[in-house]
Amino acid sequence: MDSQRAKARALEAEITALRRACIETQAPEDDDSQVRKSFQETYQSDSEEWRSSKDLRSHLESLESELQFLSRLTGISIRNYCKKTEDLTSTEMAEKSIKKVLQRHRLSGNCHMITFQLEFQILEIQDKESLSSVITDLSIIMEPNEYSELSEFVSRAEEKRDLLMFFRSLRCFVEWCDYRKHTFKHFKEKYPEAVQLSEGASSSYMGIRNPSQPGFELVIVWRIQIDEQGKVLPKLDLLTKVPLQALELDKNRVIETAPLSFRTLLGVLGIEATLESLIKSLCTEESS
């Protein structure tokens, strides 16, 4: 009985200590109170709308549809976002009416098939004349990794802390990838025998061969590059695979000069027309 009472007392003491710990770990400026603060502000301004769950639900629905619309319009879909703010204003600064704030942001979402996760910090300094906002840290994680052209671009964006350029180029890159995929698919459907997509429509290679003349193969290499300035440019090249005998017979060196002629043709006809003419020229004797 005594040991039980002792046990009960020990538990009560522990509970008291834990309650104290609970209150102490709640820092003055933590997320919870931030959320509730902005929450209360919104409550005050939209108090009409919070009367019932039903109103709240319909408001939420309209916000969500606004989000969907924005995602379609901008090409970027943000799924998650959170922000933490730290006030770095010292008393000296406050006296001169200078305010210094560090914001930590975490953002994740996707742009078509590419998902991204970003963490960045923004330092805001406000004085009497102006407000300066500078990104002081940027880290980017992207999936999938198979677009090798992207990893170099990502490190460059991180280095320059150019968040906006990252998104501009990402959109452009994704558009080009889509266009490439559709173009390859289109030709595969139109000329199923002649066109080979050995690595799938999402890869950078499209092979062309005439099934009645095995040994001859043309490979279109279509890379999408992002330069130092963030500009996205397609780069197409032609590779030829030809048996040795044919090379020897090629007096006019057509095969040797093919890659160069390919580039010229691209400049004149554009991508689709060039590919079309290539396929047609190789397969003029295609048996039905």
Partner: protein, 296 residues
């Protein structure tokens, strides 16, 4: 009790969590009262179990707070009176969606629905520096039209809308975003040159509103000698922040001594490849002696 006072002071801003703590405290003080009375073994057993439960709850609470995770009231046992109301869930979701809508500005293009369409906001930046935002108020009718906007008059808005607005609104926004960001970036570089490197400039920096034609005279020191150069930067491509044409000439003199000629050529190259204010930062850093290794 001291703790009770602390709880009451912060009660206002701490809402549900402290209410929960208050309830726990009430329960514990109830047990305190029972401690005075003689207890039979069974009742004592029951009380111990109750205390253990409370203690375990609090331990979990402290652990969560220390891990920095918001305390979830979902941990609460069903027979305790606190429940998460549906209201709270919806309110939190709303918070989340509102925050995401705000976060779109970091992608460069964000917007707010209006009664007639959408007011799109384009944010600009140069490298890590966040700069001005511009808005375009679109009315979603057939045909789509621009109600009003804050795009500067020297940006070819009419041209861009004529090309894309009706057929591909997304592309219209992307192209406009490119133009505005490039303009913002060029302006930033010119401003930085004027404000931070005035010591290097001889006379004013001449610039047009589009900031794609810059003309200035600057002085650099080499081996104790100071020499003025005239630079003219032209940015023909309005979607870039680096010049397409650069000419650096010596002021007046016909023929330059070879070392200065080298400098002149190096500088031309630098202006082509590096942002304007960064070129001058490297000049400043080298101080007295200019180094050709700047190019590598």
């Amino acid at each position: 009790m001291e703790l009770a006072n602390t709880l009451k002071q912060d009660g206002e801003s701490r809402g549900g969590v402290l209410a929960q703590l208050e309830r726990l405290e009430t329960q514990v003080s109830k047990f305190h009262k029972k401690l005075e009375e003689p207890q039979d073994a069974q009742a004592l057993e029951a009380r111990i179990h109750e205390l253990e439960r409370l203690r375990d709850n609090l331990r979990a609470e402290v652990k969560q707070r220390q891990a920095g995770v918001k305390a979830s009231t979902a941990n609460v046992e069903p027979d305790q009176t606190l429940e998460i109301s549906e209201q709270e869930i919806l309110e939190r979701k709303q918070e989340n969606v509102k925050a995401i809508l705000q976060a779109y500005r970091f992608t460069g293009i964000s917007g707010k629905l209006t009664s007639r369409g959408v007011c799109v906001c384009i944010s600009t930046a140069f490298e890590g520096n966040l700069l001005d935002s511009y808005f375009v108020d679109l009315v979603m009718e057939k045909p789509l039209w621009i109600h009003h906007h804050s795009v500067p008059v020297f940006i070819p808005l009419e041209e861009i809308s004529a090309k894309y607005l009706q057929t591909n609104t997304q592309r219209f926004l992307f192209v406009l975003c490119e133009y505005l960001n490039a303009y913002s970036g060029r302006k930033y570089q010119a401003d930085r040159l004027q404000n931070d490197f005035a010591a290097f400039l001889v006379g004013p920096l001449q610039r047009n509103s589009l900031c794609n034609l810059l003309s200035f005279t600057y002085k650099v020191k080499l081996k104790g000698q100071s020499f003025p150069f005239c630079a003219r930067l032209l940015y023909k491509d309005l979607t870039t922040t680096l010049p397409t044409d650069v000419t650096v000439t010596s002021q007046g003199m016909e023929a330059l001594p070879s070392t200065w000629e080298e400098q002149r050529a190096d500088h031309e190259n630098l202006f082509f490849t590096k942002p304007l204010h960064q070129v001058f930062t490297s000049f400043a850093r080298k101080g007295e002696k200019l180094d050709i290794s700047l190019l590598s």
